[in-house]
């Protein structure tokens, strides 16, 4: 079901939440944003993005709303919720811990 994004599993949801922390965005903009910020290192396929967004919605970590964009298009904009923020913090902490541990291992083993 999840397609190969080159990302460790579960990380995509964290990235999406993190991007939404700054401002509400629609799906296409989320994908663009992730690519830009990561200096083209990370690309998100639509096939992974939309299942992740649906999952975030079901979990209640984001809310979606239809809005008119600057270009006059109807877009569905995602906004992070309080629950989402908590989840993001937890996931970042967890991620840091894991990478730290891996880093230590790679350095010293």
């Amino acid at each position: 079901m999840p397609r190969d994004t080159g990302l460790p599993p579960g990380t995509l949801m964290m990235l999406v939440l993190r991007v939404l922390m700054r401002q509400p965005l629609h799906g296409y903009a989320i994908a663009q944003r992730i690519r830009q910020v990561s200096a083209d290192e990370l690309t998100v396929e639509e096939g992974s993005l939309y299942p992740a967004l649906q999952k975030l919605l079901v979990k209640g970590w984001v809310k979606a709303e239809w809005r008119e964009s600057e270009t006059g298009r109807q877009v569905r904009e995602y906004r992070i919720t309080a629950g989402g923020r908590r989840q993001l913090e937890a996931e970042i902490a967890e991620y840091r811990r894991t990478t730290n541990a891996i880093g230590l291992l790679l350095d010293r083993a």
Binding site: M1, E45, A52, R73, R76
Partner: protein, 887 residues
Amino acid sequence: MIIGEWVRRLNYLLRRRAMEEELRREMETHRAMMDEPRRFGNALRLRDEARDAWGWRWLDDVMQDTRVAFRTLRRSPGFTLTAVSTLAFGIGVNSGMFSLVNGLLLRPLYGQPEQVLGVYGRSTTPSREYRAISYPNYLDLQAGTTVTFADLAAFSTIFVGLDAGDGVRRTLASGVTANYFQAFHSPLALGRPFTAEEERPRANAAVAIVSYRLWEHHGADPAILGRTVRINGEPFAVIGVAARGFTGVGVPGPDVWLPLGAPTASGQNAARALDPRAVHELTVVGRLRPGTPIESVAPALATVARRLEEAFPAINSGYTIEMATPSRLLFMPGPGSGAITALLALVLMIMPAIVLLVACLNLTDLLLARGHTRRQELAIRSSLGGARWRLTRQLLTEGLVLAFAGGAIGLLLSTWATGTLVASVRPVLPVDVSLPDLGVDWRVLIGTIAFSVAASLIFSAWPAWVLTGRASPTDLARRPGDGGWRSRGFTFANGLVIGQVALSLLLIVSGGLFLMSALRAATAEPGFRLDGGLLAEIDPSLAGYDEARGRETYRALVDRLQTLPGVEAVTVGSRLPFSGFGDSRAVAQAGADAQAKSVDAVFNVVGRDYARTLGLRMLAGRDFIEAELSPGSSEPVAIVDDALARELWPGEGALGRLIQFRDAEEKDAGRVMRVVGVIPAVKHSLGTPRPFPHVYVPLGQRYESAMTLQIRIADAGAERAMLATVARVAREVDERVPVTRLETWRDHLDGGLEIWIYRAGARIFSAFAAVALLLAVIGVYGVKSYVVSRRTREFGVRIATGADPRALLWRVLWEGGRVTAVGIGIGLLLALGAGQLLQGFLYGVSGIEPTVLLIAPLILLASSLIASFVPALRATRVDPTVALRSE
């Protein structure tokens, strides 16, 4: 958080169309914004994957599978009809038996059953035997355990003659304490419970509460309260109607309840009062106070028991009081056990389970045969990307749909069948009883669903796996009905037939054993002459006669009947063998101390010529004489049978010995009787393999108002004519005294409850066997037809090359017969094992009965040959040109 997620998910399910539309629009926008919209993947597939996040994929799949299953089954109505009706039978017999088991053994009979305990006296000697509790002991027990029990109730179970305006019927009754209905948490449907005053022994409280069934039987008239019914000839006022289906502590339940203070609340026709402390007649049940720890009960009971022992050592020493689960089966006195009930339920469920297994094997056959012709369809699906698991699931869903359809019809069938069975018991029961509700409840419903699911797994799992495994793209090119993996499929089908034949044989042999047992029971020799014996049961008390007047009536009747031409002997007796119950006494040598040996013997009050009327000869001594038939005769005497004599005085003569009854009631207490005669023992019931000891006392020593006139006539062929004469004479002698029963000895034996039990066993098992045989025949026919149709070309070639059609016929029959023979061999082994298990339920038949073991396989072999014959005939009629052209 979790709840919020489920609410959102549910929202997706309920508003899925809107949600899907939203997703579609969103993705459309996304695509439009992309520089290269073509790089956006397959939108449909992406939406599908995104939707998976909602978590309803499985439901979609189930719905989809079900829809496809319905469509597929609709396309082959013949197959569907066969499968559903096979399952309806298979599941129906299980649901039916289960609803009986459920109503009689499993379903709680009253509210909060876990709070209800049985309380029993129990010997502290190594025998550890249980003892009922006397009324004074009960009162002390009640007073001493008020902390433990919210209600401590007591009851005794008795038989009464009940006349509710439509003739006297022998009826199961219960004499109960005032708090009885409250203890069972069973409020009356109508009226009021008994009062403490009515409970007091000798209160002479002529009030009764009738069962819901009885009330319904009499038109469910709300005005029944205050109406009079006659119980043992006495008028009783109806003050209440028990709750629907209420049976008290066990099954079957009484049809009428009396207060302990009612004139006949204890002992049939006996004024055996309850107030002496030594009369241990009551079963005690307690309803625990809510929150009482169960561990505190036994010490509380033991404390009271010790106090009773100290206060009344003569009566209570050597006995303690214990708690136990009350028995659910009325005729098993003493405590019951959950293990026995569970075992009984299991035993009863085994036979129907085997029928269902045979039905499942049949369906496996059908599905395999059909699956082979469906190979093309499966191959197409598989080549279109259907994963094996997906196809397997599809086939399993089809099985489940079939099983549920069969289960639903089976449940309807079973409701009808159990209703019929219960209705067929009532007329043959020697007593009126109330039964718990045997209808469908949630347990039966869940049971039926479980049977259906189990069945569908058994019959469809293997075909589903095998068929989808073999669906390969090369099958696409094949046409339905082509030959293929014959060898494996063929052997497997043969294995199924072998299984069916073996299990069917098991059921047929079991049915045969029960049938033989019913036949033997019907022709059982009771130990006395049946031919030319007539019975007329009368009860002068029903005409309001007292003892003196009743005695006159009996004397007049016996005298008149004796003068009838053709009559050899006439007597009168209080107990009738094979009537389902007896009244027994512990007989001991007179003067012996309490520890000396006593023998339980059926107690019978008789007139003169009892032995002669039954066709028995005096072994020693004399018959009763005229003087002993009237009260106040000189010396108390008794006649015993050789079974009693052997037990009390092994190897010695019984004549002239003095005996007394250990547990005598007031009238007979301490009376020492001289044995004046010995007669051969007779059986008292079919269930006892050996004759039961009897003790007979003359009419003069004891009066009972309901007795049976027994008449022996010379010409057995004139029995029927004589019955009419007896009825006429009885009317002439005294038309106010009703004859409550008039029949020949043979009819009496034939209409008895015990015979009914054996017959019911035979009927049920034969029905199981018949269903199994039918299913096996269908199975053999199905497999044979299938095999022949697949070998059309082979037969065509054989015929074209000059094979003799008759040889071909024999060949096909022989192949079928071989398979059946293997099944029969295995089945015989199973049947031998089953015979050992069933032995205890059989009458006069051993578990290894040559007749049955010979006939049952022959029936099966013949049926299976007939089932193979039609397909075999078809094989010989194959037109070679058509067969070859089909290639």
